[in-house]
């Protein structure tokens, strides 16, 4: 069982969370009119085999979003972060 540490609630089974996708893709600036930029943001993925930084939401807990480091080749879980702290860096 994959276990994820919520920065607010502590370590829980992954079934309490919902996967939210790649957290490293920069969202186009609000008002960007290029459909190519939005296409790339919405549809294209690096989908790496190895280290991956991703969003999860603690839907059956505090409902907060978090950023998790996980290795997709092994499912080894690293650190969890509060998204606004990741964004501020």
């Amino acid at each position: 069982m994959l276990r994820i540490t919520c920065p607010f609630c502590g370590e829980r089974d992954y079934t309490e969370f919902r996967y939210g996708g790649d957290a490293t893709k920069p969202r186009p600036v609000h008002g960007t009119s290029s459909s190519q930029a939005w296409h790339d943001f919405v549809f294209l993925f690096d989908n790496p085999k190895g280290p991956h930084r991703e969003y999860w939401q603690h839907v059956l807990g505090c409902r907060q979003w978090l950023v998790l480091d996980r290795n997709t080749a092994t499912n080894t879980v690293g650190d969890s972060h509060v998204p606004r702290e990741v964004a501020a860096k």
């Binding site: 069982m1 994959l2 089974d13 992954y14 079934t15 919902r18 996967y19 996708g21 459909s35 190519q36 296409h39 790339d40 919405v42 549809f43 294209l44 993925f45 690096d46 989908n47 790496p48 085999k49 991956h52 991703e54 997709t72 080749a73 092994t74 499912n75």
Partner: protein, 418 residues
């Protein structure tokens, strides 16, 4: 190398002590080929076979990292069917089913197609209406479909839960009699054998580590067994499509997820059809060895581990018992996971890529196995003509830029995340 199989050759061999020879020829890599196919699974081997058979291109090599058939062609639940709704999917998967129907004769290898029929269940009137619409679309395309009411389903599948306590009461269903199962390993072996007889090189234990690019064109690959040049190169690697594409500098609309499958201990013949539950993603059939073969939904997050998470085992077991209470005491014999390349609209990619001389077959989501013959057939056509066949024109890699989604579920993009 093998000779042609026939009743006479079987009888003759039965009289000798010699073991059966290996059915396909292994090969050492040559410095260059006209076409390279990366991936020795069902799709890659089928592509090589149809390149040689339909297009006369025989200077072809299939590169396989491990051994042929070690990937998803041996990890699926062996179902074949053509009950789709959207134009494009409907015609493509029906073409595939028609190729399945002639495949054992075509390859001179018994793939054990068993057209036992597939029944998709409806658990309420609205769902029954959706199945009626689906059946009508199939029939308008010349595909067999029969709408069943509750009484029909009770007669055909008497062992389902029809009690008042059933969590999801059975309202009716849609039957496609031509759907069924195939022995999946035989598909890899059959295509490999037929392709090598036409002159294709199958190179096992050869992992691609990079692409050779000349003036923006792909002109070959770097492998663990050296550089191999090629006029045209195709990627057919299922769950690792993104991984290979990244070596060529491409990003794909794909996330790799896990799908688990299960086999129970063998029991006497019981489930005579393929049954799809309508209340969850769950399907069940019985293998010739007697094991109940079933599967469910993907685990829900991207991973390449080929090891499933336990909560999905529980969900699938709950579906099985909700549908067929009498199997509650049957034990699981084996359970495994395959890596699926999930796409935004749930439909695949077959065709050219932004790079010249590089082609792709990938993004198969839940449906790669049943597509094997038609995927190989269409990719071979695309490589030979450097242009898509009408059957796979809808599977372009850039369709999201043009609003060309093929959303067969009719619920918008990211069906697998909803």
């Amino acid at each position: 190398m093998s000779s042609r199989y026939s009743a006479l050759s079987l009888a003759r061999h039965a009289l000798s002590d010699a073991p059966w020879p290996r059915a396909w020829g292994g090969a050492e890599p040559k410095p260059s080929y006209e076409v390279l196919v990366i991936g020795g699974g069902g799709h890659g081997l089928a592509t090589a076979y149809y390149l040689a058979k339909n297009h006369g291109i025989k200077n072809v090599a299939v590169l396989e990292r491990a051994y042929i058939g070690s990937g998803n062609v041996g990890r699926n639940t062996t179902l074949v069917r053509s009950n789709y709704v959207i134009d494009g999917n409907t015609q493509f998967f029906e073409h595939s089913l028609q190729l399945w129907e002639g495949l054992s004769h075509e390859l001179n290898f018994n793939v054990m197609l068993s057209q036992r029929g597939q029944i998709v269940l409806a658990h309420g009137p609205a769902q029954h209406d959706v199945l009626a619409r689906k059946g009508n679309i199939m029939r308008l395309n010349g595909i067999d479909a029969e709408l069943l009411d509750r009484g029909d389903v009770m007669r055909i599948l008497p062992y389902l839960d029809y009690s008042d306590e059933a969590r999801f009461p059975i309202y009716g269903g849609l039957l496609q009699r031509r759907a069924g199962t195939v022995r999946h390993d035989a598909v890899a072996w059959g295509y490999a054998r037929a392709a090598t007889e036409l002159g294709v090189d199958i190179i096992e234990g050869c992992e691609v580590t990079g692409f050779v690019m000349t003036e923006g064109k792909v002109t070959g690959v770097e492998t663990t067994r050296g550089r191999i040049l090629a006029g045209r190169t195709a990627i057919a690697v299922a769950g690792h499509s993104s991984h290979l594409a990244a070596m060529a500098g491409l990003r794909l609309p794909i996330e790799s997820h896990l799908l688990q499958a299960f086999v129970s201990e063998p029991i006497k013949p019981f489930v005579d059809h393929v049954i799809s539950f309508g209340a969850e993603l769950f399907y069940i059939s019985q293998s010739d060895k007697g094991g109940l073969v079933f599967g469910g939904h993907i685990d829900g997050f991207n991973t390449y581990t080929q090891r499933g998470q336990f909560p999905k085992v529980q969900t699938v077991a709950e579906c099985a018992v909700a549908l067929i209470p009498s199997i509650s005491r049957i034990r699981l014999l084996r359970h495994w996971a395959g890596i699926q390349d999930m796409t935004p609209d749930g439909s695949p990619y077959i065709g050219r890529t932004p790079l010249r001389n590089l082609y792709i077959d990938g993004g198969w989501c839940y449906q790669g196995f049943k597509a094997t013959p038609a995927a190989g057939w269409c990719l071979a056509h695309t490589i030979a003509h450097d242009e898509e066949h009408p059957l796979n024109r809808c599977y372009a890699l850039d369709r999201f830029e043009r609003g060309g989604e093929l959303d067969d579920y009719g619920i918008g993009n990211w069906t697998y995340k909803q």
